[in-house]
């Protein structure tokens, strides 16, 4: 809902389960001038930072109203970073210490892990819910709808589909969990994202959503590689 004047702020609901960044990109198309205030949770804020980095949003035209998520919300999202940089609404809740939902996956043997994921991905009916609801997925048409990388256009779409989405999100996923929430067949996508984000941190000390880290890492010269053994980083 886009309000130009707020007469009775008490009536507003702030627990909309949508990703504000995604909504902003849509608003951006027709609201060309003036400043937009937006109620933003921590994940909204980070997603907005990723879009600002890519010049898809104009940061100077945004005013973020920080919304702290409730303890239940934090729990539901297994969120490790729930508190916005400025809290205007709500009370900050303790983050989940360390989301270990994926720990079991990493403990599996490679063979079992592959089995696990193949069985998960076999459920995929290619509804594109994960991409359509993702706040940092910004293409209008998705390359995954084409044949180039997924040779059988059928359903389920095969492994490549999911791997490509994973790598595309590697330097921008803010762990909002929207993909997993919107998946009708319950593929544990957030766990996959979190595992990769941990790798990004370990390999390049990169954390998505950090406005200080200005460059989308995989395209720029940040985090200079090692000469001797390219596989160590």
């Amino acid at each position: 809902m886009l309000l130009e004047r707020v007469d009775n702020p008490g009536k507003l609901r702030f627990d909309v389960p949508y990703q504000m960044a995604m909504i902003l990109t849509k608003i951006n198309r027709f609201v060309k001038e003036g400043k937009i205030a937006i109620v933003a949770r921590r994940c909204d804020e980070k997603a907005i930072a990723e879009l600002v980095k890519r010049d898809l949003l104009d940061g100077s035209r945004l005013e973020l109203i920080g919304l702290a998520c409730s303890a239940e919300q934090v729990e539901a999202c297994r969120c490790t970073d729930p508190c916005p940089s400025r809290v205007d609404i709500g009370q900050p809740s303790e983050p989940v210490k360390d989301d270990q939902n994926f720990a079991g996956m990493l403990d599996m043997s490679l063979e079992d892990r592959l089995d696990f994921w193949i069985n998960q991905f076999r459920k995929c009916n290619k509804c594109f819910g994960c991409t359509l609801n993702c706040p940092v997925c910004f293409c209008d048409e998705c390359l995954l709808e084409e044949k180039t990388f997924a040779p059988d256009k059928g359903i389920p779409p095969g492994l490549t589909f999911h791997l490509i989405r994973t790598v595309h999100l590697a330097d921008k996923c803010v762990e909002c969990g929207e993909c997993e929430r919107s998946c009708p067949v319950d593929i544990p996508l957030l766990s996959l994202r979190k595992m990769v984000n941990r790798d990004m941190k370990k390999m390049f000390n990169y954390v998505s959503g950090d406005p200080e880290r200005m460059s989308p890492l995989l395209t720029t010269l940040e985090g200079d590689p090692m000469e001797d053994d390219p596989n160590v980083c």
């Binding site: 890519r54 010049d55 898809l56 910004f138 293409c139 209008d140 048409e141 998705c142 390359l143 084409e146 180039t148 990388f149 040779p151 595309h168 460059s215 989308p216 995989l218 395209t219 720029t220």
Partner: protein, 564 residues
């Protein structure tokens, strides 16, 4: 359906000794889209090329795959043959079955044959999707802009004019000559610098194609090689000049060594450039002169050697002695860097004339104490391994050249990089010393690195040569293998803009639709942007994701279905 012709080369024994050519030919015949497959003893020989051309005509082929040696040496040859037979040369695909197969699997003929089949299958798969490409051209404005009228910029300008090329020379000061204005004699040759400047300025002033802009700056630079728009501003007035090439010759300045050896406090402590000025004016009264080399350089924070100071110290020492043989001159140094023939001869001459050389170390820098007019220096002489005391009535500090205060501004304005000391960074330290990575923008003189007058001049001429090439040709060739954007797919995320090493991509707004746009004249066809794009919206011609994807499919298929 395509009509691909596949030609397998024996290369004498080189391929045929390990690979069963017949089998590969038979296999190729069965590949999708292949209309003809044959073989040649030497595909690259006149006979071989002739037979390929004949096959193209006889079989009405529209694409050609040659499986032979390496494209790095032979691709142009086969492409030319295709062109002669009426096929666009980008509809040719090279498969390397010699360097990458027969030669490295010489003892495994069966495996080598199987591998050759796979490689041919991959090449054919790509060939089926190849598209004709044209090498574009863009016009070049026959005019240059040289920024900076020091000796290097003057030399560049004079050379361009001499070659008949219209040139705008932009100088922010009110006189030309740069650092040489303060130097009376250029060493080691001992040439009067005023004559040097005047000779160049005469040339420039007498040319109808020269435009000298004093007290002016470049305010804005837009465009690309062949077609730059340069806004030159003077006072309140702006002038837009269209130019085909730009030369950056903004020079360097002498470091003012605040606080070092009493500089700024004691009037008898001066820099080398001040010494030059005094020598040019009236000569020196001082009798006991100490020159301290490497003041402010080759030390933490400013590690570099400024290249020209040793030779300047030697030249000035000799000059002082020639005017006043009674003078006592000591050069404190860390290494005398007189490279080459004339400079080394100068070093020898100075020694023979009685200049005393004392080597000091960074760990124990000379100490200074002043009593009224007299100055005492305490130096640890590394050669003697002991401290010595020196009296001086003039101390000359040989300080390095540093980048001008506004070099950061210049760098942003011209979108050219700088090194950590603020000197401009050339495209390649070894092989492209006067070029920037940006085509059509060149660098010369001390803007790049401290250099002598002689070096400044030849670098200016070198930059002039580079600038004259597109202008004399009148056009620049645009690579056929460039990136292109499908603006329908593009999400304008800017990944490609960030990824491009050449700043050849920008996001443009086309009636509300933002999308990336590749400047083909600037694109070098590396494909870095392609891998950065999340939506496959940017493609490298000749290496599209469909083409490479087809090669992967072909390889996967060959392994699951076999190559029989």
């Amino acid at each position: 359906m395509t009509r691909i012709g596949v030609f397998i080369c024996h290369c004498g024994h080189n391929i045929a000794s390990a690979i069963d050519i017949e089998k590969v030919v038979e296999y190729a015949k069965g590949l999708p889209g292949v209309a003809y497959a044959g073989h040649n003893l030497y595909s690259c020989s006149q006979e071989g090329l002739g037979s390929i051309k004949k096959s193209i005509e006889d079989n009405d082929l529209d694409r050609v795959v040659v499986a032979a040696c390496t494209p790095r040496t032979h691709e142009p040859l086969f492409r030319r043959a295709c062109e002669q037979a009426g096929i666009n040369k980008y509809l040719f695909e090279f498969v390397n079955i010699r360097e990458h197969c027969s030669w490295i699997h010489a003892k495994e003929p069966e495996a080598a044959t199987e591998k050759a089949k796979k490689l041919v299958a991959m090449g054919v798969a790509k060939a089926a999707l190849l598209e004709p490409q044209e090498e574009g051209e863009s016009e070049v404005v026959p005019r240059t802009v040289v920024i900076g009228a020091g000796i290097s910029g003057l030399a560049a300008t004079a050379s361009l004019l001499e070659q008949g090329i219209e040139t705008h020379l932009v100088e922010r000061g009110d006189r030309v000559g740069g650092l040489l204005k303060d130097i009376s004699m250029v060493g080691p040759e001992g040439i009067c610098s005023r004559d040097l400047i005047e000779a160049l300025v005469d040339d420039i002033e007498n040319s109808p194609k020269a435009h000298l802009h004093l007290n002016s700056r470049v305010k804005e630079l837009k465009g690309f090689i062949g077609n730059f728009d340069v806004i030159i501003t003077k006072g309140d007035e702006d002038l837009t000049v269209k130019a085909g090439a730009i030369i950056v010759a903004t020079g360097a300045q002498e470091l003012q060594p605040k606080g070092e050896y009493g500089f700024g406090e004691h009037p008898a402590v001066i820099t080398q450039l001040e010494l030059e000025r005094r020598l040019g004016r009236s000569g020196l009264a001082a009798k006991k002169i100490v020159i301290v080399n490497c003041t402010g350089s080759r030390q933490p924070g400013r590690e570099y050697c400024s290249r020209i100071c040793c030779n300047a110290s030697l030249k000035n020492a000799i000059r002082i002695l020639e005017a006043n043989p009674e003078a006592k001159i000591t050069i404190l140094h860390r290494d005398i860097m007189s490279c080459g023939t004339t400079a080394e001869a100068l070093y020898r001459e100075a020694s023979e004339k009685g200049v005393r050389f004392v080597r000091y170390g960074l760990e124990q820098k000379p100490g200074i104490s002043t009593h009224g007019k007299s100055i005492k220096l305490k130096v640890f002489d590394e050669a003697l391994d002991e401290s010595i005391d020196l009296d001086a009535d003039l101390i000359v500090l040989a300080t390095p050249l540093v980048s001008p205060d506004d070099s950061e501004e210049t760098s942003k304005l011209l979108k050219v990089p700088r090194d950590k000391y603020g000197f401009f960074l050339e495209a390649h330290v070894k092989l492209r010393p006067v070029e920037f990575a940006t085509d059509g923008v060149f660098v010369c003189g001390s803007a790049r690195w401290p250099v002598s007058a002689r070096e400044s001049i030849w670098q200016g001429q070198a930059a002039a040569a580079k600038a004259s090439i597109p202008i004399s040709e009148g056009k620049v060739r645009i690579e056929a293998i460039t990136a292109e954007v499908d603006s329908e797919k593009c999400a304008a995320c800017g990944n490609c803009v960030l990824a491009c090493p050449y700043e050849a991509i920008e996001i443009v707004d086309d009636e509300g639709r933002r999308a990336a746009k590749v400047s083909e004249a600037q694109c070098k066809g590396c494909g870095t942007c392609v891998a950065a794009c999340h939506n496959d919206a940017i493609q490298q011609k000749g290496f599209s994701s469909r083409q490479l994807g087809a090669m992967i499919d072909a390889l996967a298929r060959a392994s699951t279905e076999g190559t029989q």
